[in-house]
């Protein structure tokens, strides 16, 4: 796509993806927040011509987008890598049906697991679903590739996946924005044989799918999204995504085949490159995806034998892999003076006290995805498992089935419960599993930066909407015992929980509600202080792990500046030594 370059600006990769979708005439953007993908829809929602929405989960998001595309509009669905697992079901079949309007699915992988529970390589999904994926190297490519995605999607009647990574999504680079192209949805046309995937029709589409792949294989060799940069004929690298940039920098003389379309691969171009250049190495992060494909096509290359397959590949790792001496001396002996500083639950986090009570009452706790995984850290150390969205409740059932003698509880946030926790809770009700579910309701999708969800009553576009009543929902699922209380009222919580444990006849649900301290408006400047005359030096308040409570000598001290006056520590203190200080 040839474009006139004019006003440049600096954009986060995710902003550039949103820009590309906007320019490409997208009508609907849908997704579920997840680092490093969350900002795409937040940026897209700033364009009022586009309807952008958070969905309860990625499966819903992709199905909405697919519906738009089948009906003839252009749609963007965004998610992090593990979100694609949730959306895999529609993905596998929307590949069969194809689309009428362009459908672009953005998936952001997280090599190095900066903020994820695994580092799966989502490129495999494109091959699995037999759809093409584009892999941009920077913001400008992210913009162009996303925009181009809609055209290619329509041209070949296929969903297009854009695969980003943390270093593309969360890097800022120079982008040259263009105007939005005018696009009106195609007129609606019923086509049951194409879009109703009953076996008889699906078998026909199955054949069409393979034909489409054949056509795409010819096309990728023509596309200018892939390119060869000839330099040194004795050193060649095949690479794509952010690694292209690392390679350009570390090996300015290397000949490069830059992959823009990561599946299907341009084998003629690759053969041609390997014929012209000796010693070709495939440089890729995570799985040897391209290397395997290229070798299977009978083209000799190196790859995983030199490049590590675990974690992020940095320019420094490339230097080591290719035996390039580190040219610049560096100061690397000062980090010995440093203490670890892991992320923690914020001071004033409305759910810190809950973790304290769970460990106090020796409840075996299965965890879920969100800020509260931080409950695994000392001093609360109260979480025993964390697998994926919604798994806390179903994992807890498994724990209980195996060890009925344990008191098993599941902690799950409001957004995560809505995403994937409702089914598991229904399972616990249906199969009468004796577990306790703690819904830590902070009225926001917190870890990813405070996004709205169906329980907040506000849409991504900022409009007021219906607000899910979690308590009514839980009761409707058939849970007989539901306790809904403020998560700051931990004394009440403790006594209620003790009764529930004693009764031992779940499933029981606690809904512990208070807004996330990042969105809670504190009306005053009050804070709590330790009264040295009453403090008995028991240090129990320190077991909360609150950033505002520190040990000064033998005595706990509260740093007024950090204190958010949640009052949880004053309830933990047995000697009434922690009191609120009022400021006018």
């Amino acid at each position: 796509m040839k474009e006139q370059k004019n006003n440049s600006c600096l954009m986060l990769g995710n902003e550039a993806i949103a820009r590309g979708a906007y320019e490409g005439g997208v009508q609907v953007g849908s997704g579920y927040p997840g680092t490093p993908s969350s900002e795409i829809l937040e940026y897209l929602s700033q364009f009022k011509e586009v309807h952008s929405r958070w969905c309860p989960n990625e499966k819903v998001a992709l199905e909405v987008a697919a519906g738009v595309a089948i009906a003839g509009g252009r749609a963007l669905a965004t998610m992090k890598h593990v979100g694609l697992n949730v959306a895999a079901d529609p993905l596998m079949t929307i590949s069969y049906t194809g689309v009428r309007g362009g459908l672009v699915i953005v998936v952001a992988d997280d090599p190095g697991m900066h903020s994820s529970q695994n580092e799966q390589d989502s490129r495999n999904y494109a091959k699995f679903a037999k759809i093409p994926f584009f892999e941009p190297a920077d913001g400008e490519e992210a913009r162009i590739f996303t925009k181009e995605g809609f055209i290619i999607s329509e041209k070949f009647d296929t969903p297009i996946m854009i695969r980003s990574t943390t270093r593309v999504s969360h890097s800022r680079s120079v982008v040259f924005p263009q105007e939005r192209i005018h696009f009106s949805p195609f007129p609606y046309q019923k086509d049951a044989e194409k879009y109703v995937m009953i076996p008889a029709f699906a078998r026909k589409r199955r054949v069409a799918l393979e034909k489409r792949l054949e056509v795409l294989r010819d096309w990728v060799d023509e596309s200018d999204l892939n390119r060869i940069e000839m330099r040194d004929p004795h050193f060649g690298i095949i690479t794509g995504g952010v690694l292209y940039n690392h390679v350009r920098e570390v090996f300015p003389q290397a000949s490069i085949l830059k992959i823009g379309i990561g599946y299907p691969l341009p084998f003629e171009m690759i053969s041609d490159f390997v014929r012209k250049v000796k010693n070709v190495v495939v440089v890729e992060e995570l799985d040897p995806f391209w290397e395997t494909e290229i070798k299977a096509a009978g083209i000799p290359v190196e790859g995983r034998n030199r490049i590590p397959g675990i974690g992020e590949i940095t320019p420094d790792i490339l230097k080591v892999a290719f035996g390039v001496p580190q040219p610049v001396p560096s100061i690397d002996d000062l980090n010995q003076y440093v203490f670890p500083r892991p992320p923690v639950l914020c001071a004033g986090c409305p759910h810190r006290g809950v973790f304290r009570i769970l460990s106090e009452l020796k409840i075996t706790v299965t965890g879920d995805i969100g800020c509260y995984t931080l409950g695994v850290m000392p001093p609360t150390s109260s979480i025993d498992s964390c697998i994926c969205m919604g798994a806390s409740i179903s994992n807890a059932e498994g724990f209980k089935l195996t060890h009925p003698e344990l008191t098993v509880g599941a902690v799950i946030g409001d957004s995560t419960f809505i995403h994937s926790g409702i089914g598991p809770l229904l399972d616990a009700v249906y199969n009468q599993t004796n577990i306790i579910v703690f819904i830590l309701d902070n009225r926001v999708t917190a870890m990813t930066g405070g996004q709205n969800h169906p329980g907040t009553g506000i849409t991504l576009m900022g409009e007021k909407t219906s607000k899910l009543d979690i308590e009514e929902l839980v009761k409707a699922l058939g849970v007989k015992e539901v306790h809904h209380l403020s998560s700051f009222d931990i004394s009440h919580f403790r006594s209620l929980l003790k009764e529930v444990v004693k009764k031992n006849s779940g499933p029981t649900v606690f809904i512990l509600s208070e807004p996330c301290q990042l969105i809670r408006k504190k009306g005053n400047k009050n804070f709590y202080q330790v009264d040295p005359n009453l403090c008995r030096l028991c240090k129990k308040c320190l077991q909360l792990g609150c950033p505002a409570i520190r040990l000064d000598g033998e005595r706990a001290q509260i740093i007024a500046e950090y204190c958010r006056a949640c009052g949880v520590c004053s309830q933990i203190c047995q000697f009434n030594a922690i009191k609120e200080e009022y400021q006018s």
Partner: protein
Amino acid sequence: MKFGGIVIVGVGGTGVLKASEMLSRFLLNQGFDVRQSEVHGMAQRGGSVITQLKYGEKVYSPLLGKGEAQYMIATEEVEALRYSEFLSFDATIIINSWRLNPVGTKPEPYTGLSARLYREKGILVYEVNADSIAKSLQNSRVANSVLIGAFSKIFNSDNENIWEDVIRETFPKKFFDINMKAFFKGRELVTI
């Protein structure tokens, strides 16, 4: 010089991301190609945070290698030490004279440890009392703009209009004035 490198380090929630955004906008305005890498999500909950910034005629990788940064801006003194490997031996460091000890442990005032250790290596260190200045402006969140103000002086950037644009583009309108004040306080602090 292939490219210039700057690392901005600190504790999540101390304005590291906004500080890098300001610097990136400024360098772009100066006619450089700019690439900047940041970390979101998990790393922002009071954990250690770094952003890496590269500028030059043409920059490819958004990531710095060992010894490739000529500048470091640290919003907290211990974090200044954690990322020492990125610094070249001719680096200049701006450290906010503020210390944050680990959760649960005794708070300590600023110790000057990182400044001392770096000076022993022959590194040029500017200690800037950004935290107290920000507090004197009734907004502890603008310490980052104080540090950027100090940087602007050290970087020999005399065009204050450009910085005004940068601050306007980086912050919401209602925070423009306070960040401008903080920026100029930081600028005044440094003599070179």
